[in-house]
């Protein structure tokens, strides 16, 4: 589902060159739950964004479900992101002026997507938020926010979920709930790539990759 081959990325800030990624290879197949862990600054987020088609790497190749996002025109890339991938962020990134249901349905405005209210309500029900559809993000707890974000990521029935520290702001219980949903998604044939330094994540993952200074330094199958 996701093939990342030899990607590298460096940042130049005030004359200082930061090698965030140096030749990283990762593949995530359908039904796989892969976690990338590493210290802060090891390049986890950079890897995730590069793999998603949102941040063009300096070198290497990314293939999502047979398509190379960086070789596509803007519209086609948007279409690929809309139909194949779903994002979950550490900071949730819910839209503050939309209520719970609209935060899920906002996904239907993306390229090539359809408006399906029933699908939105079904996901909200699944994540136990049926009572909160009219509430705004500011009125939700962090765990609830992350569940809304997860519902939004799943709305378009993507094949690949990319999550950046999805449990970073959650307590133990909520972390387990979210990770449970992600592994369920993988069990149903989806591909999941999570970057996290949370050790709990490895309990749910099928494969753990260790990143250090932009390089893969270890990989173990659980």
């Amino acid at each position: 589902m996701l093939e990342v081959t030899n990607i590298s990325k460096r940042f130049v800030k005030d004359g200082i060159i930061i090698h965030a990624l140096c030749g990283v290879d990762i593949t995530v197949g359908s039904g796989e739950f892969v976690v990338v862990s590493g210290a802060s600054g090891s390049g986890k987020t950079t890897l995730l964004l590069g793999a998603s088609g949102l941040m063009r790497p300096d070198g290497g190749e990314v293939v999502i479900d047979g398509q190379r996002p960086y070789e596509l025109a803007d519209n086609a890339r948007s279409g690929l992101l809309a139909s194949k991938t779903g994002f979950v962020f550490q900071q949730f990134h819910l839209i503050p002026y939309l209520n719970v249901i609209d935060n899920v349905l906002v996904r239907s405005g993306a390229a090539g997507s359809r408006f399906r209210r029933g699908r939105g309500e079904e996901l909200i029900g699944k994540f136990g938020l049926s009572e909160r559809v009219k509430h705004y993000p500011a009125q939700l707890s962090t765990g609830e926010k992350q569940r809304v974000a997860l519902a939004r990521a799943l709305y378009n029935e993507p094949k690949l979920i990319l999550a950046d520290e999805p449990t970073g702001n959650l307590d133990d219980e909520n972390s387990r709930i979210v990770l449970g949903y992600l592994s369920e998604f993988a069990e149903n044939g989806g591909a999941v790539l999570v970057v996290s330094h949370d050790s709990k994540v490895s309990e749910f993952a099928g494969r753990c990759i260790e990143l250090e200074c932009g390089k893969i330094v270890g990989e173990k199958v659980v």
Binding site: S78, Q91, L105, G109
Partner: protein
């Protein structure tokens, strides 16, 4: 979920920011519309003032015209037609002429339509020494009335002197002890005295009047006269210069001397009043013109300052809004929104700001312009009515309003364009790493 819904939701969420932008656009538009209303009001009021002044002047002139016409008819004015070669200095000094013109001129003048002349008195005059008494006299031959074919003659002004009779001036009949019905000899001819005049204190006292025909014979001036006295003339113009010009056109080789009369003075008053009224009108026009220029200058400066300030505020607000929503751009991109859609999200909000601000500004502009005009004119708050404002220039107002409704959205979209494009162009990853709710 379409972009329109997102725009409305965001506006509802950030009401103050949006309201502030709309108010700014509205203030800018209102300053333009308000200035136009005041200037238009100025034009309307100027028209009214000038029309009222004009009507008043006209009324005044009509009253004076009537007055003049009445006095012209009642009093008339007198002119003396003299041969062109008559030296006027001599004529004024001696009060009689020594040059001659054809007698037929009298008929010509009588039959013309130049003016209504009640009495036309041709005369032949000569200063001579009365050989029989050795006295210096003025001999005047008169013919009395010449009938005017345009106006039936009324009672003759001066009784004609019959053939063979003579009228004697005061000094002459006093010193020579002459009496009516006596017979006197003049240049060898016998005359019966028809009348002895009372004292007049002028050259009439040494004048002898005889019949014109007899005078022509005696002085060997057949068919000649030396002056035509036109008494109680009346004409529509009450303008002596014009009368003079017309007579000289009709009777070549003549000159016209006016003998002052009351009617002339009145005509002159009328002329002065007319001139004064025209000058007053001109002064008012100039005053209103200067006022308008002042108002235009003030308005253009005010409008420029207001528009610049509002453009700055709208731009700053748009920039702030887009900047604070940069991460939103990243999130929408990560969900598969196209950059054009995201640009549309920001620009359609800006355009909506423009439309609402434009509409609001038109209403506020008209209201404040109308109120402001009343204040500026300072006549007890009496201002210009909206219907008065639109009367006659409905179309140009509509063009203005439509252009405002077209221009303001474009204008505010342009103000948002730069920050929006910058945000959309930015790598979403940059934003997503750092910001969020």
């Amino acid at each position: 979920m379409n972009i329109r819904r997102l725009v409305f939701k965001e506006i509802a969420y950030r009401k103050v920011n949006f309201a502030l932008s709309v108010v700014c656009v509205a203030v800018a538009v209102a300053s333009v519309v308000g200035a136009m209303v005041v200037l238009k009001g100025h034009d309307v009021r100027t028209g009214e003032i000038l029309a009222a002044k004009g009507a008043e002047t006209e009324k005044q002139m009509k009253a004076l015209d009537g007055d003049v016409a009445r006095s012209m008819l009642k009093l008339g004015f007198n002119v003396v037609v003299l041969p062109k070669d008559q030296n006027l200095g001599d004529w004024y000094a001696d009060d009689f002429g020594a040059k001659y013109m054809p007698e037929e001129y009298v008929e010509r003048l009588a039959n013309s339509k130049i003016m209504t002349v009640r009495h036309l008195l041709p005369s032949l005059q000569q200063k001579l020494v009365w050989p029989e008494t050795k006295r210096t006299i003025i001999l005047i031959g008169t013919r009395g009335e010449v009938p005017n074919i345009h106006k039936s003659a009324k009672k003759p002004l001066i009784e004609p002197v019959a053939w063979g009779t003579i009228v004697v001036g005061y000094e002459l009949h006093q010193s020579l002890e002459l009496k009516a019905d006596e017979t006197v000899t003049l240049l060898g001819r016998e005359f019966t005295i028809a009348k002895c005049h009372g004292e007049r204190g002028n050259k009439d006292d040494i004048t002898l009047w005889i019949h014109l025909g007899q005078a022509q014979e005696m002085l060997d001036k057949e068919g000649k006269i030396s002056a035509i006295l036109a008494l109680e003339c009346a004409c529509a113009w009450a303008d002596i210069a014009k009368v003079r010009q017309e007579i000289c056109g009709l009777l070549p080789e003549t000159q016209v001397v006016e003998k002052g009369s009351q009617a002339i003075a009145r005509a002159e008053t009328r002329k002065r009043v007319a001139e004064e009224a025209t000058a007053a009108m001109e002064r008012e026009k100039q005053f209103r013109g200067n006022l308008k220029r002042g108002r235009e200058n003030f308005a253009s400066v005010l409008v420029c300052v207001v528009i610049a300030a509002c453009a700055f505020i709208v731009g700053a607000l748009a920039y702030g809004n887009v900047r604070s929503r940069r991460w939103e751009v990243g999130v929408l991109r990560s969900m598969g929104y196209r950059s054009k859609q995201i640009l549309g999200l920001f620009l359609s909000k800006a355009a909506l700001t423009g439309v609402l601000g434009g509409l609001g500004g038109i209403v506020i502009g008209i209201a404040s312009g109308v109120a402001g005009f009343g204040y500026l004119e300072g006549n007890g708050g009496e201002t210009i009515g909206v219907s008065e404002l639109f009367a006659g220039s409905y179309e140009s107002w509509m063009i203005l309003f439509v252009s405002i409704i077209v221009i303001t959205p474009v204008f505010s979209a342009v103000a948002s364009w730069i920050p929006s494009v910058a945000a959309v162009r930015q790598d979403p990853a940059d934003i997503l790493c750092t910001e969020g709710v």
